[in-house]
Amino acid sequence: MASLVGSRVERKEDKKLLTGRGKYTADVTFAHQTYAYFVRSPHARAQLKNVDISKAQKASGVVAVLTGKDIANDKIGGLIAGWRIKSEDGSDMKVPAHPPLANESVNYVGDHVAVVIAESLDEARNAAELVKVDYKILKAVVKTDKAMDSESIYKDIPKNLCFDWLLGDRAKTQEAFDKADKIIKIDLINNRLIPNAMEPRAANADYNPSTEEITLYTTSQNPHLARIIISAFNGVAPENKLRVIAPDVGGGFGSKIYPYAEEVVCSWASKKIERPVKWVADRTESFLSDCHGRDHVTHAELAVKNDGTFLGFKNETIANLGAYASVFGTVTPTYLFGPCATGVYKMPAAYSNVKAVFTNTAPVDAYRGAGRPEATYTIETLVEKAARELGMDPAEIRMKNFPTEFPFQQTLVHSVDSGDYNAGLKKAMEVGDYKGFEARKKESESKGKLRGVGFCSYFEACGIAPSAVVMSLGCGIGLWESAEVRFNPTGNVTVFTGSHSHGQGHDTTFAQIAADRLGVPLENIEISHGDTDKGPFGYGTYGSRSLTVGGTAIVKACDKIVAKGKKVAAKMLEVNESDVEFKDGEFIVAKSNQKKTIGEVAFACYLPGTYGEVKSPLPEGEEPGLKETSFFDPGNFSFPAGSHICEVEVDPDTGNTEVVKYTAVDDFGTIINPLIVEGQVHGGLAQGIGQALYENCHYDDTGQLVTASYMDYTMPRADNFPEFNLGFTCTPATSNPLGTKGCGEAGAIAAPPAVMNAVMNAVGTEVSMPATAEKVWKACQKMNKSNSKAA
């Protein structure tokens, strides 16, 4: 039987999604449905003096109006920060309370004040206008780099500082800097982004007063985590009385990893009114209240020798957490960022210092790449600047500093198990025809355009994660993954995974793995996920973890099935177990023609006795049935890496910048389904190029979100991109039996520096992200002036 691993299998999940038969949360409507509309703060920072709901309560169709007082009276717990970070001085991080409905103060535009529940959405929305809120408006803290010098938003959090964290050794790094021939310095802003999954967040909670059970449909990347948080921390219902279903989910990119206030409120309200409560965000609500991404202000320095050898690296970053510490908000700028700050290089000494601040803006949390794009942007911009200042080719300086022996103990945390960074960069130069760049540049010049080329070599730590490691670093949960492989009596298979697919194609990739492992045809395997009542607890999908961690759990469960199958087949064939081999779905007795298919063995496991022609007594001590569970906790992270080369054309008269050529060569270890992996790279690149050229979340000085619709926030469109050239190298991961490394975030990590290095190469000076036409035009003007002066 040909192996399915490595095949471009068309996706099993596509037909329902292509024919309008998908089921997203907003598509679910219950009998006796009610509709929720949230009253949100129009102010970035204010005291709540009074919330008068009396008029709204009497409005047509209104079932209930609930406020922060109600939620406090019912002792519903607040939203949580999932990762405890300690400051350099050993003190614990400081986080404010985060009630699902505000009680005393509101802290960003869009913060939740009250919920109106009515018979129809129109009635809920109309009644929300009648809720009269008396705000005492306070001066908002908005800017990341000014937060520590501003008035404290929370009285027990001085300087608005959540933590002041250090990774690495300042003294040792300074020693390295003292020996440097040259120190390259850079100041960067990693622009704030809004994730913008196309499906707006939604929740529909249905409480059954007879069974006291809540069924919550929600747009989640991680329904099991939603259940444990809403149960154990918010205290809405015991875990066994809360079923969370994340059906088809329309993209997440990090913004749907954890439950938000709305899921908590809908679940609690459903219990209160004993009717189902449905909420669907409109797009502006999504802009205002989905967690945002990035938002770093960084000063970094690289110490180099004149021959281009790196000696040391310093990074001082201020990271904006927004108004509250979200679930992964505190780990994103620390352990997901700091260890990758030295990039893909040998770096004898380094430190990374991050000050995380609160501001009156929406909470910031993990967004595709989470910490690693920020780290990669910093080091890769510095490296390119170093190459320019030393007069070296950007490829040459990188290769000079790549590690060549693996496992590679990276400077700050990670032991990287495998990689071949030279091979990746060389292949990228080949695929992208780097040699031909000068000729293409001349051609662009003949059209009056400036052409630039930019590199990015990256590595990242994903496949999160080893539980022992992350828990020792402050993570409040383990990060293993579960799988249950269930043979049905008639020989087909259902595989339950604790991870969640919201576009990644698990139904297909995971079925390919199980089909190969069990020798069962692909069409006889169903993958089940997204429902806490089906399959064991799991940790969901983010951090490019599903395949390396969740896929491995499937492999291990399949191996247990085969191990039991061997015993049963041996009994059926009346031979010793050691004489039975398993291959391509058959248990075969060596050197004979005796065999049993895995389907026959499964059938026997469910009919363990003699019935007419069926003779299938189980071996002594074996239980009936054929179902195995595995919980896999990896020994290490996985470390995808690669080199990307971008070419841009700039029109100096308008500043318009176009990506005209983009080459990505990535090492994701073993690839199960190239069709899906290529799609993941394309999507990541679009978001990375989006950050570099188009996307920017902008709050004005009073904390109003100026970019709160698709008319103001530039989403990349089809006509913004060229056709991407992809290539792959492969050094299998050693930390999982599949050899996979994760591919979902690479594009978003590598593209911003590749694009920005190309822009800077084209215009000859630094430009900040996003490199809008206005900024690039101004940079061109500045360079024209300085060129003419020089002339």
Partner: protein, 153 residues
């Protein structure tokens, strides 16, 4: 309220609608045709594109009350005798979708393009789809799917 008579996916429909009910809400909430998605409030994302009298429109921007007598085709109406439309087949073959949320609008829009122009260039496809936002695919395989469908339609 106004009574409207429509043909939706080949079936006659007669309903009372409020004056402010837009077509996307009418399809999703009155007819339970939830294949048409709503991804924004400003007629930008294109997830809600359907065909009215053979032309693609954003259904969030048309009042149902204005469409009396029209023929509407939604994503649910493309399957004929259990077989997907060539555009749907092409999206599957070329991996032109990931989360699937923008896909119904993308498919309806792309079909209208091929109805206008038999063999569009990459640039023409990208320009045409400018009103449909996809956050997952980077558009590359969507372009490939439209080109593939052009060979079959």
């Amino acid at each position: 309220m106004k009574k409207i008579n429509l043909e939706v996916n080949g079936k006659k429909v007669s309903k009372e609608v409020a004056d402010h009910t837009v077509l996307s809400v009418f399809l999703r909430e009155v007819l339970n045709l939830t294949g048409t998605h709503v991804g924004c409030d400003t007629s930008q994302c294109g997830a809600c594109v359907v065909h009215v009298d053979g032309k693609s429109i954003k259904s969030c921007t048309a009042l149902a009350a204005d469409l009396d007598g029209s023929k509407v085709t939604t994503i649910e109406g493309l399957v004929k005798n259990g077989k997907m439309h060539p555009m749907q087949e092409a999206f599957k073959k070329e991996h032109g979708l990931q989360c699937g949320f923008c896909t119904p609008g993308m498919v309806m829009s792309a079909i209208d393009l091929l109805n206008h122009k038999k063999n569009p260039s990459d640039k023409e496809i990208r320009d045409w789809l400018e009103g449909n936002i996809c956050r997952c695919t980077g558009y590359q395989n969507i372009v490939a799917a439209v080109k593939e469908a052009a060979t079959k339609m």
